[in-house]
């Protein structure tokens, strides 16, 4: 049975999971916040996008949501795969996703030291050279997919090492000296 049918939220009564038909979605840029999304002839304003599996499936299962500004957030529906959208729509959805997730990808750990229970990193990241501190605690460095780690610094900023195996032996040794879990 084909599940990928678009239902208008009002018809579905917000019950059950609604997968949106990529052909049935039109997305417009909003002047204020979020996007304007038209689904099945109905337009929704201030639409936000969020990922169901931001770590393991960063391109799939995108939830389009309305009402966040009124404190009564509801899901219009889910997009199974961003790549199935039209190129224009893809751009807008990805931009909205970038607004939701502010992440740094670590390319190289230049220095890692411990002092007074904090780990001080200096690293080359997707957002340039960054120096940040992390509380030396288990919950501040977590697994990210199978071989990666996500590091949350003292400001709650997020840094990702996608694959520990791709670090140089020296970086790996220094990293696991402090973070072995």
């Amino acid at each position: 049975m084909e599940e990928s049918t678009t239902q208008k939220p009002t018809e579905s009564g917000y019950k059950g999971l609604v997968f949106l038909d990529p052909k049935d979605i039109t997305i417009h840029e909003s002047e204020l916040a979020g996007m304007n999304v038209t689904v099945g002839g109905e337009t929704f304003e201030e639409v936000r996008a969020s990922l169901a599996l931001p770590i393991t499936e960063p391109d799939r299962y995108v939830s389009l949501r309305i009402g966040a500004s009124k404190g009564e957030e509801q899901e219009i529906g889910m997009i199974r795969d961003v790549n199935e959208l039209s190129p224009e729509n893809q751009v807008l959805v990805r931009r909205e996703l970038r607004k939701r997730y502010f992440l740094h990808v670590i390319y190289k750990i230049l220095s890692l030291k411990e002092k007074f229970g904090f780990l001080y990193f200096e690293a080359e990241t997707s957002k340039g050279l960054r120096k940040f501190a992390v509380r030396w605690e288990y919950n501040r460095v977590q697994e990210y997919s199978e071989f990666g780690r996500i590091i949350i610094d003292t400001d709650d900023n997020r840094y990702i090492i996608p694959d520990l195996r791709k670090l140089s032996p020296e970086e790996y040794k220094n990293f696991t000296r402090y973070i072995y879990w």
């Binding site: 204020l32 916040a33 009564e72 957030e73 931009r95 502010f102 957002k127 030396w136 288990y138 400001d155």
Partner: protein
Amino acid sequence: MLRKALPPKYAAWLSEQNIPESDILLCTDNDITFEGEYAERWVVVTRDAVIMLRERDGQVQAARSFKMADIESARIDPRVGSGFLQVKVHGHWAEVARFSNARAIWFERIAAKITRFKETGEIILTEEDEKEQNRCPTCGLLLRSSTDICPRCINKNRVFGRLLRMMQPYWPWALGTLLLVFTGIGLDLVPPQLSRILMDDIFVHDPARPYLMPEWALRLMNITPGTQMTPSEKVTLLFFVVFLGMAGVQLLRIGLNIVIGRLSVTVGTKITYDLRHKLFSRLSELSVRYYDRHQVGILMQRVTGDTESLHGFVSQSTQGFLVNILLPVFIGAALFKMNPTLTLYVFIPAPFVIISTYYFWEFVYPNYYKYWDSHSKMNAMLNSVLSGVRVVKAFAQEEREISRFNHLSGNVQASRQRVDKATGTFYPIVGFIFGLGGLIVWYVGGRYVLEGKGMTLGTLTAFTSYLGMFYGPLSSLTYISSWLTGFMTSAQRVFEVLDTEPELQDTDSALHLHICRGEIEFKNVTFGYDRYNPVIRDVTAHIKPGEMIGIVGRSGSGKTTFVNLLCRFYEVDQGEILIDGISLRELHKDDIRRNIGLVLQEPFLFRGTIRENIAYGRPDADIENVMKAAKAANAHDFIMRLADGYDTKLGEYGSGLSGGERQRISIARALLYDPAILILDEATSSVDTESEKQIQEALAVATKGRTTIAIAHRLSTLRNSNRIIVMDDGRIIEMGTHDELIKKEGTYYRLVKIQTQLTSEPTVDRLELEKKEQEAAVSDESSEKETEEETEKDSEEKTDAESTEPSEDESSKDSEQTS
């Protein structure tokens, strides 16, 4: 900072726009673009606008600008790793700026200030507003929490001085211990000297050299000083040196160690006891707000772990740390006195030992941490799995849990191995270096002996004996600094609690309330756990003595905060609360609480007997009154069925009793307390129908003759209330009797209707509502239409009402619907 100085180019731009500096209310820099790239941005709030400035192609421009007149309010829209400052313009939220989490605290404050400006027309900046969280104000070091102590800036002298003052009552013990420590060190120096006498006076005495043994000692042994000793005299001397000298010193040392140990334990435990007492007393005095900010686990660590480390400090000071400092000094002096040149050779291995020990600790400390950490994780996993063993078995997940455990256990094994291997490698190497020192001394000293360069065999033996006593403490001194830092931080954490002044203190002129009538008045009360987000907004209510008031509303609507404020667990931000016409601020805290009885949703029972638990508020109550209270609370009969009756010991949190039974005991406790005001906070919401019935019966007795405030989700429990308050979003939106509110057909009416539809039992409400609907059916068509719309609206709300814990967001939804 909320009012940063603008860089000249931005200031110039504002000036070009005819915005004088005096118009700037708030100004702070921002770190990222809307696209999430790092770049300099400035947010400026003036009396007329909220502007976000950026620089593009060398030109400053306003990337976003909103007229203050159009803005309704401002807020932060938090995302993952960043957030947006938004303003509400013509009913829509618009983004002003995006910031990384590093800047979140400032933008939270800016949003609150803009909103306040729209409400009051002014922006007031306090010192608190400019304070950066979680950073040491002196050195900027990151701290674990805003209340944490900076380990770098901690004033060791101050803490140390304070500790010494704490020892003041025990100064005779402390002084005695110190003297004994010195005596002990003196004794430690004796055996090598005796071995020197053995060698030089008895075994290989050079007639040309005088005896090392003092003349008076020789005379005491009937040996004539200055003459060559006969073999029998040598045996006598040997006997004295070995049995009286060496054995005596050893016996004395053992005796001293025992006395020092006992004294340091006495002083250490006494100080720890004093500290624990002071800490617990202070913690008992601190307000509920303090506990909101601090995790109970951390506070427990302060009372137990940190105070215990003081004990460690005393024993370490006397037996470890002090000895380790003094011994190398004394031994160095002794060595120097014996042979200054050879002493210099002794120092050759010292730098190696110190440096290698430093690096060893640098390496081993993180590994020790890993071991402690992996161990605690394994324990936590064990605890959670064994506690939830039923769930594990029910879902047949034993294999998976075994595998998880093995993984964690493997981590323990690996980390332990790393530590032990490092230790096992390092210490033999250090031993070798020491040995090397010994070899150098043997070789150089040996040549001195052979070549007759002023050194005897006895002196060389004594020298080598001293070596072990010299190197050992020297290596341990390398980690004394980190130990001392850790200890000082512990001490400071203890002092920090002791120094925290209770937020709600009685004034000297505080009044007593001996007889309370139970009249309550809320006058324009506003309060927020965080001052910028009020959860009680401008609440005014008057409750007459003996009245029963029901409070209803969704989760997060402010019901529990309402009663928290009445108990004065928190101080109101604005307005005042009066009991019998006297402001809570003017009353003694104890008197307020003496007149308020609290029955909570989750009754908290302590470890102890049922009798002790019922008499918790009145420990002097006799058993007959305890039983009367239990009887009135419908608890007596089930207590009597227990084998040990009122002497039944309850486990932690009252384990061993059902939820309903625990609740009835807590009601008995409140009844015995006999308060003028009784607060029931969801007292029956977590028990089954049968228990609820029994509790309701108990409450009917309990509430008689006293002012009662009952918070309930089950509206049927409030039918006997004189009046009902309906709260939403921190405000009282409806107040009146059950009948009045039903007639009003507002929120209360709708809530009753939903709950009546949910229960199949015929109730008074149901009959009333059915009657109302029949009337509505025969009335005109327009009213019929209205009823249909209402039903449709209700069916949407029904989903929320079914949920036991609607979110804060849902409460605000209701707010918009009802307003």
